[in-house]
Structure formats: structure tokens, C-alpha cells
Symmetry: C2
Subunit: 357 residues, 2 copies
């Protein structure tokens, strides 16, 4: 059985813009959806009020469907290692000092984290029609409520096992995230070694095991790579890094420039920035954290500990202080409007000798 994402959601082209927290804006989402693709609005870890505002901003800019993306990890970290956190805070304190900044330590009880459970009511109120999520499975009850309201659910898998669990949980489709992908790995079976499977191997092995549409993600950037994933059985292609240098992106100019100067070996997987494995361009902050020899506190503690410095880097356009999330095809990124980048991709696909759509 060959699936096409167009049969599941009313879009013109089976091309998904990946949700990229800190990069994707309502303007980017709307531009992709208006151009006939599926935009994805990242709401992971967000407080409900902010999420509501972003959904409404996106709605104002498009009347086409778009997905909202949630972080579906459990909220309570099972083992908070306060000593680990203290050592990491000490390191950050010393890095802050070199920039003349003051690092404010938090009490453990002052960390405030949000996950998908905080946003479910909001999504129903705002009548969101497509929900994608990463870092886990939705609870059976949440799945049931959303499906009763006709919401399309899209999970994220980095292994066949995760794909099977997602299918069993009742999702309508899933993203197969290859090793090449930028940003966080969606991995949620954390008791096992991190799956690091190249998309060309992972995708057909997932497609052969599940009976729902599979969206391919990781390293995609042009008509050739989109055609390749369709040959491998994908129902759609998801591109993230491809849109980071877009006009509508919230990435700083320095981040965008780093992408365009990068090559296929510029990125690496790291837990340094957030405590979760993610792929980004190597820079000073990544190296300094990696070389500290310290253990990284679990997500979302580490994310919170480093966020102030990364905000400073963003505000002051210091790319060496950012998490420069990017996939292995980052070097192929271009500047331009989201709409133009999307059209360029569609044109290349349609001008191919044997176009797939």
C-alpha cells in the first residue's frame, strides 16, 4: 500500500515544513501552508498563553491547514541530580563571567516546565486540526479526545520499535527521522542506546513494518532528495534546515551565515545544549560544554541552564554562543522568502525528467 499525505490532510503538495522551535515563526508556517505545503508551528515546551497567541497569529496569515507541534515527554524527570546541576551551573557561571554577564542560579522548585498536557485544552479550544509531536507517545486518553474531535495525529520515530509503538497508540501518520536531521532527535525509548540510523536505511524498514503514512525527515533539501524518499516509500518529505535562512525565520543573521558557510561534516550530535541529543553545527559553546568533562543534566534542566546564554547570543548575534541546530545538508541552504524557497523546491520537482508530482 502506497500512501500520500495528501490523502490524509488537505494540502496540494506532500511537503512538510519541520517545526523548529526558536526558528519557525507564524509567518513561515503560513507561507508554507499558503504555498500548498504543510506548515508546522512549534509549540513544544510553551506556556498556553504564548501558544495561543502563536496559533492565532498563524491563523491570521493563512486559512490553509497547518500542524502544531508538541513535546510529548513526561514532565517529571525521574532522577534530578542536584549535584550534576550545581556543577553545570558553576561552569555556566564562569562562562557568563567572561561575557560580563551575571548567571542567576535557580532553586530546583523554581524551574517551570511545560509539555503537551498543558496545551491539550487550548488545542481543542482553538480547534486545531493537525497535531504533530515528538519525544514520546500521547496518553491513551489524550489520543482518544483528540481523535474524537477529528484531529489528525502525527508522531515522531527514530527507530522501527518507536514507529510500531506510535502506530499502536493510534497516530494517523508518523515522521521517520533519520540520523541526518538537524535539531533534537525525537527518540523516546531512552533506556536504549540512541538510534542513529541513516534515513535511506531507516525509512524503508519503518515503511515495511507499519500500515500508516510515513513522512521522511533528515538531510532533505532538493528535488533529488525528495524523489529519493518517495522511492523509499515515504508519503511526504519534511524539510527543516532548508527553511532556516528564510526571511520569515527567527534565526539570527549569524546563524544563517553559519549554515551557508557549513559543509556536510560541520554538524554533530550533542547533549550539551539541552540534555537531549540534538544535531547542530559545531561552535565554541558546544565545544566548551563538551570538553568540560561534566555530565549533562537531563532535559529540560540543561536546556534551562544554558538558555540565558543562548538568548544573549541570539540578541547580540554571536553565533558561537547559540545552539546552531542544522541537518547534514545545511550547506545547501539558501536565503530568500519562505514562499520563494518553497516554490523553488516545487519547481525543481516538477521540472525533473520524471517528476513525482
Amino acid at each position: 500500500m502506497k500512501y500520500d499525505l495528501k490523502d490524509l490532510v488537505p494540502i496540494k503538495y506532500p511537503i512538510v515544513q519541520a517545526p523548529m522551535l526558536g526558528v519557525t515563526t507564524p509567518g513561515m508556517v503560513a507561507a508554507v501552508s499558503n504555498a500548498g505545503g504543510l506548515g508546522s508551528l512549534p509549540l513544544g515546551g510553551m506556556a498556553p498563553d504564548k501558544a495561543r497567541m502563536l496559533i492565532r497569529q498563524t491563523r491570521q496569515a493563512t486559512n490553509r491547514p497547518f500542524a502544531v507541534n508538541l513535546f510529548a515527554h513526561p514532565l517529571a524527570s525521574s532522577a534530578v541530580d542536584t549535584d550534576q546541576i550545581k556543577k553545570m551551573e558553576d561552569l555556566l557561571h564562569s562562562i557568563y563571567s567572561t561575557y560580563g554577564l551575571n548567571f542567576e542560579r535557580k532553586r530546583l522548585e523554581d524551574y517551570q516546565f511545560y509539555n503537551h498536557t498543558h496545551l491539550l485544552d487550548l488545542l481543542l479550544e482553538e480547534q486545531v486540526s493537525i497535531v504533530s509531536f515528538t519525544f514520546g507517545l500521547l496518553e491513551a486518553e489524550s489520543t482518544q479526545i483528540l481523535k474524537e474531535k477529528g484531529v489528525t495525529l502525527i508522531g515522531t520515530a527514530t527507530s522501527v520499535k518507536e514507529a510500531l509503538l506510535l502506530e499502536e497508540s493510534g497516530v494517523d501518520a508518523l515522521v521517520a527521522q533519520g540520523f541526518e536531521a538537524g535539531g533534537h532527535r525525537g527518540t523516546f525509548l531512552e533506556s536504549e542506546p540512541l538510534p542513529q540510523v541513516g534515513l535511506i536505511s531507516l525509512l524503508p524498514q519503518i515503511v515495511d513494518q507499519v500500515s500508516i503514512p510515513v513522512i521522511a525527515a533528515g538531510g532533505l533539501f532538493d528535488h533529488r532528495s525528495v524523489k529519493a524518499v518517495f522511492a523509499l516509500g515515504a508519503a511526504a518529505a519534511q524539510l527543516g534546515t532548508y527553511f532556516i535562512a528564510a526571511d520569515e525565520s527567527a534565526a539570527s543573521q549569524g546563524y544563517k551565515d553559519m549554515l551557508l558557510k557549513s559543509n556536510e561534516t560541520s554538524t554533530q550530535l550533542t547533549r550539551a545544549f539541552t540534555g537531549r541529543w540534538a544535531r547542530g553545527i559545531k561552535n565554541s559553546l558546544m565545544e566548551q560544554l563538551e570538553q568540560s568533562g561534566l555530565e549533562f543534566p537531563a532535559y529540560t534542566y540543561q536546556n534551562s541552564i544554558t538558555s540565558g546564554l543562548r538568548e544573549f547570543g541570539k540578541t547580540n548575534d554571536l553565533p558561537e554562543l547559540l545552539s546552531l541546530w542544522a541537518g547534514q545538508s545545511a550547506a545547501k541552504t539558501s536565503y530568500g522568502s519562505t514562499s520563494q524557497l518553497f516554490k523553488d523546491l516545487i519547481n525543481k520537482i516538477q521540472n525533473d525528467t520524471n517528476p513525482i508530482f
Copy 2:
């Protein structure tokens, strides 16, 4: 410019059987070449007499062209760390003891290594027509001599930079080896971090930078993955793991069984067996060596130190004592004759809705 390996070497199908030292036999090479593909005979690290015998055995079984594969690393390891070697020998000594085996320490001067330079005369004498190689570049003089004799040269790259160096050195084609590939990484720019780029990202980035045919390798196992790499610009697809469980394979039954029982996350990259990065199925020996905390002596010392134990594992069919080289699509392997496996692949490609050949 779109290349096809068939325009470079007289084969019927642009499908290459990867050279797999310890697995590929003359019978496997001949079966692939007889079926219209390009068989590759691994001669890396071999003494000339043995290499000559294997070439002649292959010739007796086919009059179709096949490639011979060399290891093109420099011979002299720049820094032999005798203390590192001694500690590793101590560990092997203790592992040997648990199997009632006697580990014989070698004097450094008794290690005997061969590389491509020992085989060049032989290749000319035997009038070999296609030479592929990995782990390096051929010297300008060797390249010139081989090319004057009309030999087709095929190098191996794991990054764009390596691909450009190979092209500049005068090869006629190159293999782009993705992160998914089983066995040794062909990496030769060893002063830099190991390139770990997924094929879907690496292949088009290499294709866009060079003006010679690029053969895609890593994770390929069926008509879909072959079609995918052609969409990405490959001139041919190279499959290795796909043939490991073949009747003509020298792999032990236990090794073959481990492949068929594996899944997409069963393999990992390790330097434990040979001192060079290679991908294989995780097993006891890999874990024991990895968890020893010892530094691994450089290739080919470490290869030599562990080879006796791995030979014992092979002879006694103890897969936990082998280097179980395999790519990330190992789970898709089948038993059967090489000829049948090759025909199955071609049939699947030709029965595809939009066949590529």
C-alpha cells in the same frame, strides 16, 4: 551531467558487489559479474601470492570484468605506541585464557603488513582491468602506470573533501560511502573527526562537486534504495551486506544468522577490532574491548592483535567472537545463492512501476 557506470566499464547493470574481506570469495565475485553486475574481489592487506591465487580463481569462474580492491593506506604507522600495544595484548591474553587459548605476543618487528604498493606489479602481470581502493589515495606514479595500462581506477570517499582529492588524483570514478555502510569506513583524512554523513545527504553533495561517476554505498538492499540513489545522482549502487548470507560467502553460519536476526539499530561504529572505524553488529567481543577503557592501537596493529581470536571464532562458529561487519539494513539480508540474490534485486528493480533500468 548524468553518469552511468555502464559507460565506464562493460557491465549490464550498474550494480556493484562491495569488496568484503573475509566474506567475499572468488565464487561470489564471479557470480555477480556473470549475472551482469560488477563483482569486487577484496585483496586489501594481502600478500601477493595469495592475491594472485584469488585473481586466478575468479578468472576461472568468469570471463566478465570484475574489480579488485586494495587498501591504499600508508604502510608505516607514524607513531607506534608500544605501551598501548602491550596493554591491549594483556587484555587479549586474558580473553584468550577464558577460551583455553594461548595468546602469543609478537615483537614489533615481527608484524608484517601489506598494502597496495605490494600488489601493483602483480595487478599489471595479471592484467587486471578495474582497481578499486579504500583508505587513501594512490601515489601519482602508481596512478599513472595503471592508467597507461588502461586500468579503470575507483577510489572511496566518506566526505566531499575526500571526493575532491580523489578526483584530483585522477580516479575514473569514486564510491561515496554513507554512514550506514557496514565494515570499514574508507576515511583517509585522519587528522579530522570521522565523517559520519548519511548517504541521502552525502551523495548529492559529492555528486554536485565532482565531474566523475559516483557509486553510492551504505544501507542499500532493494529496488527502492537503488532507485533512491539513482534519484540522488548515483552512477551505480554498491551493495555489500546484501550478499553476506549468500551461499558463496565465507561468513560463518553464526554470522549469517546474526545478520538475519538483527534490526536497524543492531550495528555500531567501533575501532575495537582493527584500530580503524568500522560498522558491525554489537556482540560480546566488541563490548568487552570497548568497555576495557583501553586505547585502541592504530590499524593495522589492533587488527593483527585481535585476528587470532576472530579466526578462532570463525573456525568454531562463535559469532560473539567475530567482527560481524554489517550495514544498517542488515535485517533485510536473505539466504540464497549470490546469483539468485542478484537476480532478485534486478527483478525487483525491473518490476517497479517506474523502473530505472
